[in-house]
Assembly symmetry: C2
Homo-oligomer: 958 residues x 2
């Protein structure tokens, strides 16, 4: 199939074609042109795209009429003139059964639209088995009627080769586009250009140098305008049409305007809408310069992305790009902090003291009976490792990351503002959403049941309900929604409870398995107990998180459907909110347990805390819990990213392709034959539909949580996130370009609720980091020791200070070690990590004064840290203006230029009018003197009768 | 002078007149009509206002032509047709000296406007002595030229009776108003009305009941529309003029639109602009129903305030009203909390224990040498009093107030949104400010000095600078501003340092005076020492605060002028920010000292802390510092309010009036004669100019600080604030209506920086209250004792627990009391309030474990309180939608109605066009068949040549 790709008139095209030629020279490799088509069809080449516009025209002419028709068939109506903007698809029960008695001519644009309404009353009482089918057809026709009422032109594809599917092509004529653009107050570029202020002096040199250095990082997408010239934008209005460059009406409005027309009507459940490509080479260019791993180091061509996919998706990728960019400095600093830890590990006095063989401290046993006393120096390795993450640089790093998060939010605001300006969205207001079909259905049900209670006739009630259905007098009250709300709350609590239970279960698994393994007579098993337990537990945790993630996604959707939100926007927001809470709890509960609870509820030797009266609670290894927190974090984060991204997002599609490939080999011939005859939209229909950006954002926000929430314990998190995101951008891009149906372009000014969630995560991060530093790490105890207790102001003696004494004779009956001579000498006093009074004090084993002092300092640190960081974030927020300076200057300049433009225009009109009136007046005089017939002398108002509507307006207003 | 007040066509007028009649019946009292005129001129009566529109017309006709002219003279141009919208006033050096050689005809609208520009080059090199005067005239004429260029009509008042003043009347013609309204995208009511959704069922009954109950609280200002009908608003556009009700062009645009025209030009320093009253009875109505103490319990007629003073001032009063309203519940709860304290004072175990005569605890002396031991029971009264403010209800109250503040902010957002909607400001964007004259002057100076450095000719440089002046190529860089910034920072720090120094000075005064008085041999002096010192210190504090407030206001203004901000808006914001910081520090430093530092840095018996080696630091009385904090707070707050508001705001104007009255008695006859001949604008010119809302807002925000920041220690603060504000509203209203020139109406969507400052105060309040509760009050020690140390879980023994022991033999040499037997028995151990080890422990007088425990709990409380309250505030923020539901529904409805309106209009046009085309086509045919001349047959485009511009448009677009 030699499908001709038409790409005339598009400035990107030449660039692409030139590039193509050169790359063809270099490698001679073939590219897929229409990436939405089956990528295995190698015959679709870049042939036409590489031709100049003129050549294309000649080529089109050179084709036989039959070929020409075939080429254009999928893109145009049957008349070959009106091109297809949208395709409606719907499942059809065998075409032309005629059961419903409605001829296909109903779809003819000239058919009276009232017939669909008339059918409503007749259709439903007779239907018994096929009632639902009828209802669907009814709804669909009604929808199509609405489309025609709006002025759209529809054409049914009668000879589709796909059974069970119906296709209706839609074309939006020029005047409808104009009207919609006016109603939507769309800003469009006018003919008037102006020069953007040039930098001069040193600034200009620096900026040109910077842009030269960054040159290779920019995608090879030529902008079709010189950068220092910009078109003035103005709200489109038909009365001011002369301001705009309407030389090419086919390209004046892009697909976004076209999309808005249909999206103003709520598409029914019975039909699906696909946006149709206008015939340019955008997808190919995107595939080259964006959805490609080889350009991973480059900026994204956001302008093109927006042009093809609309503002909403453009904003997502812009956000993802900025986030990834911002991760670069964060991961750099993180690596430096980590390296600092590595470098200072040998100067660290506490770990030196632990490792020193002379410091022969005997520790109390780690479990009852089977464990025995142990020497502290065996914990040397852990102590040294934990210094990598638990050093003063970590405190600096968490402050840095809190400010980083604030900077990120601010930068995003600025980027968003800049994009809004560049995309002419500054005056755009969010469209009000229409009620969802489900909501209307529930309202209808409600009023139906009301009417049935009051014993009316069925027909009447149906009519009434229809009336209600269209006028929305009824609405769902809180009372109607109460059961759903209750279910929501209960289910959410239940789900969170499930997460807690599972975490507790894993804890129990760890405790009991460890106890069991320690009891084992096999020494190998015993020595590997710790490792075995930790590894298996971490894997269990990860698997549980991954499974629950899917479950929670489904539960959140189900709960939101139960709620019956009124609009799509509210549906999306509620769904996001619920999913966010559940997934966040799921991902972070085990981590929070390790950070703040593990090792705190242990009790003390002689009076341990027992679960189920037999298992002692877990302790952290001697290096503190920070080390374990770090391990858990990295496993969860890496595991989630590797498995969810790579396995689910790369592997599964690959697998699907493989299966398809094998299948196509089997029925190769038939399939090929069939595919040849299919229209573009028919093949597109086989692609997966676009399911919204929620999963993409959600993935990223959870990652943002990993990067900010516990960064105090894992400075390498930004690095891992960065590596992941570099892949993620191209992965998502590939998915959007090749694997999904082209989504209906949606306009958006901002990323909506996600910004608030990000802000929330950043705020919580401050508090959590404060607690991690003060409670999980040993930072505060070290400080307190150094400045309050140390005899010489150094850290020497710190380890000894943190260990309390226990008299082994105070062990409870049956809990003492079976092998007290394990270390080779009898033990009288063993040590344990806690601040408690020694056995010889008046109040043995009571909490000591040091404990309270350290606690007070810890809490004070939390207060100071939280408030200082919050204040600094606020200052960052305040110092960085939300609107970039150059943009605000430009907006200001545009305002002045626009006012000037209008004033000048008006003066010109006034002068025109005067001169016209003067000449016409003269002519009038001449005529009246010549003819002497009774000419209407009150000509002052009719004199200026203009040829164009514009001058008429000026008469009105001046 | 029988000035006729014209109030036709204004719906408020009838109400007012009816009211007037009835009140005239009741009291027969006379009112001032034109409150901006001298209130002592009782002859200005309400005569004309009380006439119906028709009667007014008859009356006007019945007047002799001479009377009529006189009546209209001040309000209209000399032609009696065009009424005056603005008056420019400027100081003029004896009119018509002719020195500058510019004839008065320059002011004629028909004069060529370029002459002013041409004069620039000629005028300046010649001037020597009168150069500045010339420059001023030049600037003024240039400004007037600009006004004329904009299309405004100017008329000079040649025969003013006031020497040294020039007046220029300005009239904005209809087409200019239309153009400006279009450029400003002003929303205006269209002819289309729609019904606001009626409530029904129970809700309606409740709402009508509520509105009936609240009936007497509403001002007697009838709204001129039924409330359930609303005009659809749409952005004004001359092309859509037919949508609007233009039957009365004089009243279609109100004074706000007129104001915007002049404010788009930056008025020069050389002239002042006064807004002129349109002839309605608004000021009288406002005086009656708003600026009147007798209506203090009523809502404010905000709509009228906005109508007369513009949105900015309207928003201030709306905000003040909401704040006052919100203070009602706060002060109610505050009173209840206080009463709870009163009621439970007898059940309070700690104060019972202190007061119990059997608990004979001997306390250590309060000062060195001269003081002796004392019995704790003598502190009984203080202990009981402090319970009033230091009880568990206070904790509840400060949480309540934090939430109250959040609620207040939210409610204000909603109110603002509602007002924005009602005032048709929803689409309004802030106008870009023009650079201030001072800024331009500095830029000019800069470029001048640059040019002079490069040794150019003077003339050239002047021309260049002028060019620069108009195109703003140059701007002030950070480098230019560096000295000003440095001065700013240094001065701000210096001023804050001064405040600290003064507070420290007052402390020293207190310590030294107390010591001196205790040394006195006079027993009366000694016994009154405490009282004398406290009273005098508080008064000194208050006086210092009041004086520094004025000083700081001046300093902040000076610093801001130094900075040379670019625009008026930025000037205002910088000024506000600096004033706010200085005044806040000034007001709250003494209070913060008492709350958090006093009594903490005392040391302990035997090792007290000394200032200047001789004065012991102050201690709080035994009841805790909360009591003293409360006293200081109430004195500062009440003192500030009473003196600043009542003395400065009421007293000073009264005094001025009295002086004026006495003076007018002296020169009564001359004055009256002169006044009679003066135009309205000439008398108005004697009133004080409007100085901005900053002082009003500043006063209120400092009060908001008193209400929220330390509310934990002073639950009656909201009550005092409420009482003050009830007066404040009417006081401000009176000032605006009678004592100030009518300010130029300014548009504003929000209260700007004040909202952020309020938000900041509310946030700081949470932290400060947390600290006050945990550190200043005894709440936490009581809790800790009850749950950790109390043997029986009650508060018994708490007092004993908080007192440490001191062995009197450990007193330093020379510091022991001179009269150790003062109590009648020898003392071995005395007690002091602190958590320290007893003398018999291993570490005597060391800080005890209890201290650390209490400190840890205190800090934990701060963390919990801060985060919980912040979370709750966020939840309040999140639960209360920013846009009231009914408003958002209405906005949605209006959007739909507008789209419907346009679509219908278009369909109508299309149909019209079709029928026209059909009939004209028919006629064409007839004509062509009849005449048979060579008619142009391509008539399809000329057939529909329309009469009106609107139809032309539809041809273009359809």
């Amino acid at each position: 199939m030699n499908e001709i790709r038409c790409c005339f008139n598009h400035p990107n095209c030449n660039t692409f074609c030139n590039k193509k030629k050169s790359s063809a020279k270099a490698g001679g490799k073939m590219y897929f042109v229409r990436t939405h088509l089956d990528p295995f069809d190698h015959k679709q080449t870049c042939l036409a795209s590489c031709l100049s516009p003129c050549a294309r025209c000649q080529l089109l002419k050179a084709l036989t009429p039959q070929e020409n028709t075939q080429c254009q068939h999928g893109l145009f109506f049957l008349d070959g003139q009106r091109h297809v903007d949208y395709i409606l698809t719907y499942p059809a029960k065998k075409p032309s059964t005629g059961r419903s008695g409605r001829p296909a001519t109903h779809l003819d644009p000239s058919a009276p639209t009232s017939s669909a309404v008339a059918d409503v009353e007749l259709g439903s009482p007779t239907g018994t088995l096929n009632a639902q089918e009828d209802h669907k057809i009814l709804r669909r026709e009604e929808f199509e009627g609405k489309l025609r009422d709006m002025g759209l032109e529809l054409e049914k594809d009668e000879d589709t080769k796909m059974s069970g599917m119906g296709f209706v092509k839609i074309h939006a004529p020029w005047n409808i586009l104009c009207r919609e653009a006016e109603l939507m107050k769309l800003k469009m570029p006018t003919k008037k250009v102006y020069e953007v202020k040039q930098l001069h002096g040193v600034v200009e040199k620096i900026s040109s140098l910077v842009s030269k250095v960054l040159e290779p990082l920019h995608p090879q997408v030529e902008e079709h305008q010189p950068k220092n010239i910009k078109h003035l934008s103005h709200t489109f209005s038909r009365e001011k049409q002369h301001l705009f460059d309407l030389s090419d009406k086919d390209f004046f409005f892009d697909s976004k305007t076209r999309s808005s027309i249909v999206s103003r009507l709520k598409p029914d459940k019975t039909v699906q809408i696909m946006q149709q490509d206008t015939f340019d080479c955008l997808p190919q260019l995107l595939y080259e310069e964006w959805a490609n791993y080889s350009v991973f180091y480059k900026y994204q061509p956001i302008g093109l992305v927006r042009k093809y996919f609309g503002e909403k998706i453009g904003l997502y990728f812009a956000w993802l790009g900025l986030y990834t960019q911002m991760l670069i400095p964060a991961s750099l600093v993180g690596v430096i902090v980590f390296l600092y830890g590595c470098a200072t590990v040998d100067d660290n006095i506490p770990s030196m003291e632990i490792c020193h063989p002379r410091n022969n401290i005997t520790m109390c046993p780690l479990c009852d009976r089977v464990c025995s006393y142990w020497r502290l120096s065996t914990a040397c390795a852990t102590a040294r490792a934990s210094h990598l993450f638990d050093n003063p640089a970590t405190v600096f790093f968490s402050i840095f990351m809190a400010l980083w998060a604030a900077m990120f939010m601010e930068h995003w605001k600025r980027r968003q503002m800049r994009l809004n300006y560049e995309w002419d969205l500054t005056g755009f207001e969010d469209e009000e959403d229409h009620p969802r079909a489900e909501y209307e259905f529930r309202v209808m049900q409600k009023s139906l049941s009301k009417d049935q209670n009051s014993k009316h006739k069925v027909i009447t009630s149906f009519l009434v309900s229809l009336q209600l259905f269209f006028t929305f007098i009824e609405k769902l009250t809180c009372q109607d929604r109460l059961p759903a709300y209750m279910t929501n709350i209960v289910m959410m609590l239940l789900m969170i409870g499930v997460t807690f239970a599972i975490v507790f279960g894993v804890i129990l698994y760890r405790i009991s398995t460890k106890a069991a393994l320690y009891m084992s007579s096999n020494p190998v098993t015993r020595s590997n107990a710790q490792l075995t337990v930790k590894t298996t537990a971490a894997i269990i945790n990860l698997v549980v998180i991954l499974i629950l993630d899917e479950v929670y996604g489904a539960v959140a959707r189900w709960l939101t459907v139960l709620e019956v939100p009124k609009t799509d926007k509210s549906f999306e927001e509620r769904l996001i909110f619920k999913t966010f809470i559940l997934k966040f709890v799921n991902a972070f509960t085990p981590i929070i347990y390790i950070a703040f609870f593990r090792g705190r509820l242990v009790g003390r030797p002689g009076s341990y805390l027992y679960v189920f009266e037999s298992y002692r609670m877990e302790e952290c290894a001697h290096g503190g819990c920070l080390m374990e927190l770090c391990i858990q974090l990295s496993i969860t984060m890496l595991g989630k990213q590797l498995i969810q991204n790579n396995l689910f997002e790369i592997g599964v599609p690959k697998l699907k392709k493989l299966i398809r490939y094998i299948r196509s080999k089997q029925g190769a011939f038939q399939e090929e034959e069939r595919q040849k005859k299919l229209q573009r939209y028919e093949t597109d229909h086989f692609l997966e539909p676009f399911a919204g950006l929620t999963p993409e954002y959600m993935e990223m926000i959870i990652q943002f949580g990993f990067v900010t929430l516990f960064v105090a314990s894992f400075p390498l998190a930004p690095l891992f996130a960065l590596l992941n995101n570099i892949i993620e951008i191209r992965l998502d891009a590939k998915k959007f370009v090749t694997e999904l149906r082209r989504p209906v372009a949606a306009r958006a000014k901002d990323i909506g609720i996600w910004y608030n969630l990000l802000r929330g995560v950043a705020n919580v991060a401050v508090i959590i980091n404060a607690f991690v530093i003060s409670f999980t790490s040993d930072f505060i105890p070290r400080m307190v020791y150094q400045y309050m207790y140390s005899p010489d102001g150094s850290m020497h003696g710190f380890v000894n200070n943190t260990l309390s004494y226990f008299n082994v004779s105070h062990f409870q009956q049956g809990k003492e070690p079976m092998d007290p001579l394990y270390l080779g000498y009898p033990v009288e006093m063993c040590r344990y990590k806690d601040y408690r009074e020694p056995p010889w004090s008046n109040t043995p084993y009571e909490i000591s004064k040091e404990f309270w002092a350290v606690l007070a300092v810890r809490l004070a640190f939390v207060i100071v840290f939280q408030n200082v960081v919050m204040l600094m974030s606020d200052i960052v927020d305040w110092l960085i203006p939300d609107i970039p300076k150059d943009i605000s200057l430009q907006i200001h300049k545009e305002k002045i230029l626009l006012v000037d433009l209008f004033l000048k225009e008006e003066q010109g009109k006034a002068r025109n009018l005067e001169s016209r009136a003067w000449t016409e007046g003269k002519e009038n005089c001449r005529r009246s003197s010549n003819n002497n017939n009774n000419n209407n002398s009150s000509s002052s108002s009719t004199v200026a009768q203009p040829r164009s509507g514009l001058l008429a307006n000026s008469t009105n207003s001046l």
